[in-house]
Assembly symmetry: C2
Protein backbone atom coordinates (compact mmCIF):
# COMPACT_ATOMS: atom_id res chain seq x y z
CA UNK A 1 0.00 0.00 0.00
CA UNK A 2 2.42 2.62 1.22
CA UNK A 3 5.69 2.87 -0.70
CA UNK A 4 7.06 4.87 2.23
CA UNK A 5 10.34 4.59 4.04
CA UNK A 6 12.42 3.51 1.14
CA UNK A 7 14.55 6.63 1.20
CA UNK A 8 14.86 6.43 4.96
CA UNK A 9 16.40 2.98 4.76
CA UNK A 10 18.71 4.03 1.97
CA UNK A 11 19.86 6.98 4.02
CA UNK A 12 20.60 4.79 7.03
CA UNK A 13 22.58 2.34 4.90
CA UNK A 14 24.47 5.14 3.21
CA UNK A 15 25.30 6.74 6.56
CA UNK A 16 26.63 3.38 7.79
CA UNK A 17 28.90 3.03 4.80
CA UNK A 18 30.27 6.54 4.93
CA UNK A 19 30.54 6.60 8.70
CA UNK A 20 32.56 3.46 8.32
CA UNK A 21 34.98 4.78 5.79
CA UNK A 22 35.72 8.21 7.12
CA UNK A 23 34.43 8.66 10.63
CA UNK A 24 32.00 11.20 11.88
CA UNK A 25 33.19 14.49 10.48
CA UNK A 26 33.88 12.93 7.10
CA UNK A 27 30.24 11.91 6.89
CA UNK A 28 28.58 15.09 5.81
CA UNK A 29 24.92 15.46 5.19
CA UNK A 30 25.62 16.00 1.54
CA UNK A 31 27.84 12.95 1.26
CA UNK A 32 25.12 10.82 2.83
CA UNK A 33 22.41 12.03 0.52
CA UNK A 34 24.68 11.70 -2.49
CA UNK A 35 25.52 8.11 -1.55
CA UNK A 36 21.86 7.31 -0.96
CA UNK A 37 20.76 8.90 -4.21
CA UNK A 38 18.49 11.25 -2.29
CA UNK A 39 18.39 14.99 -1.99
CA UNK A 40 20.05 17.15 0.62
CA UNK A 41 16.84 17.86 2.51
CA UNK A 42 15.89 14.22 3.07
CA UNK A 43 18.04 13.67 6.15
CA UNK A 44 16.52 16.60 7.97
CA UNK A 45 13.06 15.43 6.98
CA UNK A 46 13.48 11.84 8.10
CA UNK A 47 15.77 12.21 11.09
CA UNK A 48 15.48 15.81 12.18
CA UNK A 49 19.18 16.47 11.89
CA UNK A 50 22.43 14.93 10.86
CA UNK A 51 23.41 14.18 14.47
CA UNK A 52 20.23 12.21 15.11
CA UNK A 53 20.99 10.00 12.15
CA UNK A 54 24.56 9.39 13.29
CA UNK A 55 23.37 8.45 16.76
CA UNK A 56 20.98 5.94 15.23
CA UNK A 57 23.80 4.36 13.26
CA UNK A 58 25.96 4.11 16.33
CA UNK A 59 23.16 2.66 18.41
CA UNK A 60 22.54 0.01 15.78
CA UNK A 61 25.99 -1.38 16.48
CA UNK A 62 26.34 -0.87 20.22
CA UNK A 63 22.94 -1.85 21.50
CA UNK A 64 23.07 -5.51 20.40
CA UNK A 65 26.59 -5.89 21.79
CA UNK A 66 25.66 -4.62 25.22
CA UNK A 67 22.39 -6.53 25.32
CA UNK A 68 24.30 -9.71 24.64
CA UNK A 69 26.78 -8.91 27.39
CA UNK A 70 23.98 -8.55 29.91
CA UNK A 71 22.43 -11.83 28.78
CA UNK A 72 25.76 -13.62 29.17
CA UNK A 73 26.17 -12.19 32.67
CA UNK A 74 22.76 -13.60 33.59
CA UNK A 75 23.67 -16.99 32.16
CA UNK A 76 26.96 -17.00 34.05
CA UNK A 77 25.28 -16.18 37.35
CA UNK A 78 22.67 -18.85 36.72
CA UNK A 79 25.46 -21.39 36.29
CA UNK A 80 27.99 -20.29 38.89
CA UNK A 81 26.02 -18.32 41.47
CA UNK A 82 27.82 -15.79 43.62
CA UNK A 83 31.34 -16.55 42.51
CA UNK A 84 31.61 -16.53 38.76
CA UNK A 85 35.22 -17.22 37.74
CA UNK A 86 37.03 -14.20 36.34
CA UNK A 87 37.63 -15.97 33.05
CA UNK A 88 33.89 -16.53 32.63
CA UNK A 89 33.12 -12.91 33.41
CA UNK A 90 35.77 -11.77 30.97
CA UNK A 91 34.37 -14.07 28.32
CA UNK A 92 30.88 -12.67 28.82
CA UNK A 93 32.28 -9.17 28.55
CA UNK A 94 34.56 -9.73 25.58
CA UNK A 95 32.84 -12.25 23.34
CA UNK A 96 30.05 -9.97 22.12
CA UNK A 97 32.71 -7.46 21.11
CA UNK A 98 34.90 -10.03 19.39
CA UNK A 99 31.98 -11.52 17.50
CA UNK A 100 30.85 -8.09 16.39
CA UNK A 101 34.40 -7.25 15.42
CA UNK A 102 34.78 -10.40 13.35
CA UNK A 103 31.51 -9.69 11.63
CA UNK A 104 32.49 -6.12 10.86
CA UNK A 105 35.88 -7.18 9.59
CA UNK A 106 34.23 -9.59 7.20
CA UNK A 107 31.44 -7.39 5.91
CA UNK A 108 32.62 -3.87 6.46
CA UNK A 109 36.29 -3.72 7.36
CA UNK A 110 36.17 0.01 8.02
CA UNK A 111 33.27 0.61 10.38
CA UNK A 112 35.00 -0.98 13.33
CA UNK A 113 37.42 1.90 13.41
CA UNK A 114 34.59 4.32 13.72
CA UNK A 115 33.24 2.52 16.78
CA UNK A 116 36.66 2.63 18.34
CA UNK A 117 36.87 6.31 17.73
CA UNK A 118 33.44 6.87 19.20
CA UNK A 119 34.89 5.73 22.51
CA UNK A 120 37.92 7.95 22.63
CA UNK A 121 36.66 10.78 20.47
CA UNK A 122 33.29 11.54 22.06
CA UNK A 123 32.85 14.55 19.73
CA UNK A 124 30.34 16.34 21.96
CA UNK A 125 27.31 15.11 20.10
CA UNK A 126 27.82 11.45 21.02
CA UNK A 127 29.62 12.03 24.32
CA UNK A 128 26.81 11.31 26.76
CA UNK A 129 25.35 8.75 24.40
CA UNK A 130 28.34 6.42 24.68
CA UNK A 131 28.20 6.43 28.46
CA UNK A 132 24.46 5.88 28.44
CA UNK A 133 25.01 2.75 26.37
CA UNK A 134 27.80 1.35 28.49
CA UNK A 135 26.75 2.25 32.03
CA UNK A 136 24.29 -0.64 32.59
CA UNK A 137 26.98 -3.13 31.62
CA UNK A 138 29.51 -1.68 34.03
CA UNK A 139 27.04 -1.52 36.90
CA UNK A 140 26.18 -5.15 36.39
CA UNK A 141 29.72 -6.42 35.93
CA UNK A 142 31.48 -4.59 38.73
CA UNK A 143 29.55 -6.23 41.60
CA UNK A 144 30.18 -9.62 40.01
CA UNK A 145 33.89 -8.94 39.83
CA UNK A 146 33.87 -7.75 43.42
CA UNK A 147 32.28 -10.98 44.61
CA UNK A 148 34.84 -13.08 42.81
CA UNK A 149 37.78 -10.84 43.75
CA UNK A 150 37.05 -9.57 47.26
CA UNK A 151 40.71 -8.68 47.74
CA UNK A 152 40.49 -5.96 45.08
CA UNK A 153 38.74 -2.77 46.26
CA UNK A 154 35.92 -1.43 44.13
CA UNK A 155 37.85 1.67 43.16
CA UNK A 156 40.59 -0.52 41.78
CA UNK A 157 38.14 -2.82 40.02
CA UNK A 158 36.64 0.16 38.22
CA UNK A 159 40.02 1.38 37.09
CA UNK A 160 41.05 -2.05 35.89
CA UNK A 161 37.81 -2.44 34.00
CA UNK A 162 38.68 0.86 32.36
CA UNK A 163 41.94 -0.74 31.23
CA UNK A 164 40.02 -3.62 29.69
CA UNK A 165 37.73 -1.19 27.90
CA UNK A 166 40.76 0.65 26.56
CA UNK A 167 42.12 -2.55 25.07
CA UNK A 168 38.80 -3.40 23.46
CA UNK A 169 38.59 0.12 22.13
CA UNK A 170 42.05 -0.30 20.69
CA UNK A 171 40.96 -3.49 18.93
CA UNK A 172 38.12 -1.67 17.27
CA UNK A 173 40.21 1.36 16.47
CA UNK A 174 42.96 -0.66 14.80
CA UNK A 175 40.72 -3.24 13.18
CA UNK A 176 41.36 -1.83 9.76
CA UNK A 177 44.50 -3.05 8.05
CA UNK A 178 46.51 0.10 8.70
CA UNK A 179 49.40 0.65 6.28
CA UNK A 180 51.68 0.71 9.26
CA UNK A 181 50.91 0.58 12.96
CA UNK A 182 50.63 -1.87 15.76
CA UNK A 183 49.66 -5.36 14.65
CA UNK A 184 45.88 -5.56 14.92
CA UNK A 185 45.70 -9.05 16.35
CA UNK A 186 44.38 -10.21 13.05
CA UNK A 187 43.78 -13.83 13.87
CA UNK A 188 40.52 -14.83 12.25
CA UNK A 189 39.70 -17.28 15.01
CA UNK A 190 37.63 -15.72 17.74
CA UNK A 191 38.56 -18.37 20.26
CA UNK A 192 42.25 -17.70 19.75
CA UNK A 193 41.63 -14.00 20.25
CA UNK A 194 39.55 -14.63 23.34
CA UNK A 195 42.14 -16.96 24.82
CA UNK A 196 44.83 -14.39 24.16
CA UNK A 197 42.90 -11.60 25.83
CA UNK A 198 42.00 -13.70 28.84
CA UNK A 199 45.56 -14.93 29.24
CA UNK A 200 46.68 -11.32 29.37
CA UNK A 201 43.85 -9.78 31.37
CA UNK A 202 42.91 -12.37 33.96
CA UNK A 203 46.07 -12.21 36.06
CA UNK A 204 46.03 -8.42 35.96
CA UNK A 205 42.45 -8.18 37.13
CA UNK A 206 43.04 -10.60 39.97
CA UNK A 207 46.40 -9.15 41.00
CA UNK A 208 46.68 -7.81 44.53
CA UNK A 209 46.19 -4.05 44.52
CA UNK A 210 49.39 -2.01 44.63
CA UNK A 211 50.52 -0.81 48.06
CA UNK A 212 49.21 2.55 49.18
CA UNK A 213 45.94 1.89 47.44
CA UNK A 214 43.79 -0.10 49.87
CA UNK A 215 42.59 2.86 51.91
CA UNK A 216 44.64 5.69 50.52
CA UNK A 217 43.18 8.90 49.11
CA UNK A 218 39.75 7.34 49.38
CA UNK A 219 38.24 10.10 51.45
CA UNK A 220 36.14 11.29 48.56
CA UNK A 221 33.52 9.33 46.62
Amino acid sequence: MVPVENTRERLLAAAQRLFAQGGEEATSLRAITREAGANVASVNYHFGSRDELLRLVLEGYLEPINARRLAMFDAAVAEYGDHVPVGVLLTAFLRPDLDALADLRAHNPQIARFIGRAYTQPSASVAGFMHEQFAPVAERLIPLLRQTLPQVPEHEVRIRLGFVVSIITGLFATATPAPDGRPPMESPDIYVQLARLIAFLEPGLAAPPPPGESDDHRHLH
Copy 2:
Protein backbone atom coordinates in the same frame (compact mmCIF):
# COMPACT_ATOMS: atom_id res chain seq x y z
CA MET B 1 69.08 42.78 14.82
CA VAL B 2 66.25 40.88 13.25
CA PRO B 3 62.86 41.23 14.97
CA VAL B 4 61.73 38.22 12.99
CA GLU B 5 59.85 35.15 14.11
CA ASN B 6 57.63 36.76 16.69
CA THR B 7 54.44 35.98 14.86
CA ARG B 8 55.64 32.47 14.20
CA GLU B 9 56.00 31.78 17.91
CA ARG B 10 52.63 33.30 18.68
CA LEU B 11 51.02 31.12 16.05
CA LEU B 12 52.59 28.00 17.50
CA ALA B 13 51.43 28.88 21.01
CA ALA B 14 47.95 29.73 19.79
CA ALA B 15 47.72 26.44 17.89
CA GLN B 16 48.72 24.56 21.04
CA ARG B 17 46.00 26.23 23.08
CA LEU B 18 43.25 25.67 20.54
CA PHE B 19 44.38 22.19 19.65
CA ALA B 20 44.16 21.48 23.33
CA GLN B 21 40.67 22.74 23.83
CA GLY B 22 38.91 21.39 20.80
CA GLY B 23 41.02 18.86 18.98
CA GLU B 24 42.16 18.96 15.44
CA GLU B 25 39.11 19.78 13.39
CA ALA B 26 38.03 22.43 15.89
CA THR B 27 41.34 24.21 15.34
CA SER B 28 40.70 26.10 12.16
CA LEU B 29 43.25 28.25 10.46
CA ARG B 30 41.13 31.27 11.20
CA ALA B 31 40.73 30.43 14.86
CA ILE B 32 44.51 30.08 15.19
CA THR B 33 45.24 33.42 13.59
CA ARG B 34 42.51 35.11 15.62
CA GLU B 35 43.94 33.68 18.86
CA ALA B 36 47.45 34.74 17.87
CA GLY B 37 46.38 38.21 16.86
CA ALA B 38 47.73 37.64 13.38
CA ASN B 39 46.10 37.62 10.00
CA VAL B 40 44.71 34.67 8.12
CA ALA B 41 47.59 34.46 5.69
CA SER B 42 50.30 34.16 8.33
CA VAL B 43 49.98 30.42 8.91
CA ASN B 44 50.43 29.65 5.26
CA TYR B 45 53.36 32.00 5.09
CA HIS B 46 55.20 30.61 8.12
CA PHE B 47 54.28 26.94 7.96
CA GLY B 48 53.16 26.30 4.43
CA SER B 49 49.80 24.93 5.46
CA ARG B 50 47.56 24.33 8.43
CA ASP B 51 48.44 20.62 8.55
CA GLU B 52 52.16 21.36 8.77
CA LEU B 53 51.55 23.53 11.81
CA LEU B 54 49.42 20.90 13.50
CA ARG B 55 52.08 18.26 12.96
CA LEU B 56 54.63 20.54 14.57
CA VAL B 57 52.43 20.97 17.63
CA LEU B 58 51.96 17.23 17.95
CA GLU B 59 55.65 16.59 17.55
CA GLY B 60 56.40 19.05 20.33
CA TYR B 61 54.58 16.78 22.75
CA LEU B 62 55.49 13.33 21.46
CA GLU B 63 59.15 13.73 20.64
CA PRO B 64 60.34 14.44 24.22
CA ILE B 65 58.29 11.55 25.57
CA ASN B 66 59.77 9.04 23.18
CA ALA B 67 63.28 10.40 23.56
CA ARG B 68 63.00 9.92 27.28
CA ARG B 69 61.77 6.40 26.83
CA LEU B 70 64.80 5.51 24.75
CA ALA B 71 67.11 7.07 27.34
CA MET B 72 65.49 5.07 30.11
CA PHE B 73 65.88 1.87 28.10
CA ASP B 74 69.58 2.61 27.75
CA ALA B 75 69.92 3.26 31.47
CA ALA B 76 68.08 0.05 32.29
CA VAL B 77 70.32 -2.03 30.03
CA ALA B 78 73.40 -0.37 31.53
CA GLU B 79 72.23 -1.43 34.97
CA TYR B 80 70.73 -4.86 34.35
CA GLY B 81 72.38 -6.10 31.17
CA ASP B 82 70.62 -8.72 29.07
CA HIS B 83 67.77 -9.44 31.43
CA VAL B 84 66.06 -6.26 32.50
CA PRO B 85 63.14 -7.11 34.80
CA VAL B 86 59.73 -6.60 33.22
CA GLY B 87 58.79 -4.05 35.87
CA VAL B 88 61.82 -1.95 35.00
CA LEU B 89 61.03 -2.09 31.29
CA LEU B 90 57.45 -1.14 31.99
CA THR B 91 58.59 1.74 34.15
CA ALA B 92 60.87 3.01 31.40
CA PHE B 93 58.03 2.76 28.94
CA LEU B 94 55.31 4.27 31.12
CA ARG B 95 56.96 6.93 33.24
CA PRO B 96 57.59 9.44 30.44
CA ASP B 97 53.91 9.20 29.55
CA LEU B 98 52.73 9.55 33.12
CA ASP B 99 54.98 12.52 33.78
CA ALA B 100 53.82 14.20 30.60
CA LEU B 101 50.23 13.43 31.50
CA ALA B 102 50.59 14.92 34.95
CA ASP B 103 52.17 18.00 33.51
CA LEU B 104 49.43 18.40 30.94
CA ARG B 105 46.74 17.89 33.54
CA ALA B 106 48.23 20.65 35.64
CA HIS B 107 48.91 23.19 32.95
CA ASN B 108 46.57 22.35 30.13
CA PRO B 109 43.93 19.85 31.18
CA GLN B 110 42.55 19.54 27.67
CA ILE B 111 45.48 18.81 25.42
CA ALA B 112 45.99 15.31 26.76
CA ARG B 113 42.75 14.26 25.15
CA PHE B 114 43.97 15.43 21.83
CA ILE B 115 47.08 13.30 22.07
CA GLY B 116 44.94 10.31 22.93
CA ARG B 117 42.80 10.96 19.90
CA ALA B 118 45.85 11.29 17.70
CA TYR B 119 46.55 7.62 18.44
CA THR B 120 43.13 6.21 17.67
CA GLN B 121 41.95 8.84 15.22
CA PRO B 122 44.89 9.13 12.85
CA SER B 123 42.91 11.57 10.65
CA ALA B 124 44.91 10.88 7.48
CA SER B 125 47.14 13.89 7.89
CA VAL B 126 48.83 12.60 11.05
CA ALA B 127 48.43 8.88 10.33
CA GLY B 128 51.94 7.99 9.24
CA PHE B 129 53.39 10.59 11.54
CA MET B 130 52.24 8.84 14.70
CA HIS B 131 53.81 5.57 13.63
CA GLU B 132 57.03 7.31 12.64
CA GLN B 133 57.27 8.71 16.16
CA PHE B 134 56.56 5.44 17.93
CA ALA B 135 58.36 2.89 15.78
CA PRO B 136 61.88 3.39 17.21
CA VAL B 137 60.56 2.85 20.73
CA ALA B 138 58.83 -0.38 19.81
CA GLU B 139 61.84 -1.75 17.94
CA ARG B 140 64.04 -1.06 20.95
CA LEU B 141 61.66 -2.39 23.58
CA ILE B 142 60.51 -5.60 21.93
CA PRO B 143 63.94 -7.30 21.87
CA LEU B 144 64.43 -6.36 25.51
CA LEU B 145 61.11 -7.91 26.44
CA ARG B 146 61.99 -11.01 24.44
CA GLN B 147 65.24 -11.45 26.34
CA THR B 148 63.49 -11.19 29.68
CA LEU B 149 60.50 -13.29 28.64
CA PRO B 150 61.85 -15.97 26.31
CA GLN B 151 58.76 -18.09 26.87
CA VAL B 152 56.58 -15.53 25.07
CA PRO B 153 56.92 -15.58 21.26
CA GLU B 154 57.66 -12.31 19.51
CA HIS B 155 54.29 -12.21 17.80
CA GLU B 156 52.64 -12.41 21.18
CA VAL B 157 54.95 -9.80 22.69
CA ARG B 158 54.00 -7.37 19.95
CA ILE B 159 50.33 -7.90 20.50
CA ARG B 160 50.67 -7.49 24.25
CA LEU B 161 52.65 -4.33 23.79
CA GLY B 162 49.75 -3.13 21.66
CA PHE B 163 47.50 -3.74 24.68
CA VAL B 164 49.76 -1.62 26.83
CA VAL B 165 49.70 1.16 24.26
CA SER B 166 45.91 0.99 24.18
CA ILE B 167 45.76 1.51 27.92
CA ILE B 168 48.13 4.45 27.78
CA THR B 169 46.11 5.89 24.94
CA GLY B 170 43.02 5.52 27.06
CA LEU B 171 44.68 7.42 29.89
CA PHE B 172 45.40 10.32 27.58
CA ALA B 173 42.02 10.19 25.95
CA THR B 174 40.14 10.26 29.27
CA ALA B 175 42.48 12.62 31.05
CA THR B 176 39.95 15.41 30.95
CA PRO B 177 37.37 15.38 33.72
CA ALA B 178 34.57 14.04 31.55
CA PRO B 179 31.06 14.83 32.86
CA ASP B 180 30.44 11.11 32.92
CA GLY B 181 32.56 8.24 31.76
CA ARG B 182 35.00 5.78 33.09
CA PRO B 183 36.98 6.98 36.09
CA PRO B 184 40.16 8.52 34.71
CA MET B 185 42.52 7.15 37.34
CA GLU B 186 42.76 10.63 38.75
CA SER B 187 45.31 10.01 41.44
CA PRO B 188 47.69 12.94 41.42
CA ASP B 189 50.60 10.79 42.55
CA ILE B 190 52.58 9.44 39.66
CA TYR B 191 54.09 6.65 41.70
CA VAL B 192 50.67 5.40 42.70
CA GLN B 193 49.63 5.43 39.06
CA LEU B 194 52.79 3.67 38.01
CA ALA B 195 52.44 1.02 40.70
CA ARG B 196 48.85 0.45 39.66
CA LEU B 197 49.72 0.03 36.01
CA ILE B 198 52.62 -2.29 36.72
CA ALA B 199 50.54 -4.38 39.11
CA PHE B 200 48.02 -4.84 36.34
CA LEU B 201 50.31 -5.21 33.35
CA GLU B 202 53.30 -7.16 34.57
CA PRO B 203 51.57 -10.50 35.15
CA GLY B 204 49.76 -10.20 31.84
CA LEU B 205 52.95 -9.53 29.89
CA ALA B 206 54.75 -12.43 31.51
CA ALA B 207 51.82 -14.85 31.31
CA PRO B 208 52.36 -18.03 29.30
CA PRO B 209 50.97 -17.62 25.79
CA PRO B 210 47.54 -19.13 25.22
CA PRO B 211 47.44 -22.64 23.72
CA GLY B 212 47.32 -22.84 19.95
CA GLU B 213 49.51 -19.80 19.67
CA SER B 214 53.11 -20.98 19.81
CA ASP B 215 53.36 -22.06 16.18
CA ASP B 216 49.82 -21.71 14.96
CA HIS B 217 48.79 -19.65 11.91
CA ARG B 218 52.31 -18.30 11.67
CA HIS B 219 52.85 -19.30 8.08
CA LEU B 220 52.61 -15.72 6.86
CA HIS B 221 54.74 -12.75 7.80
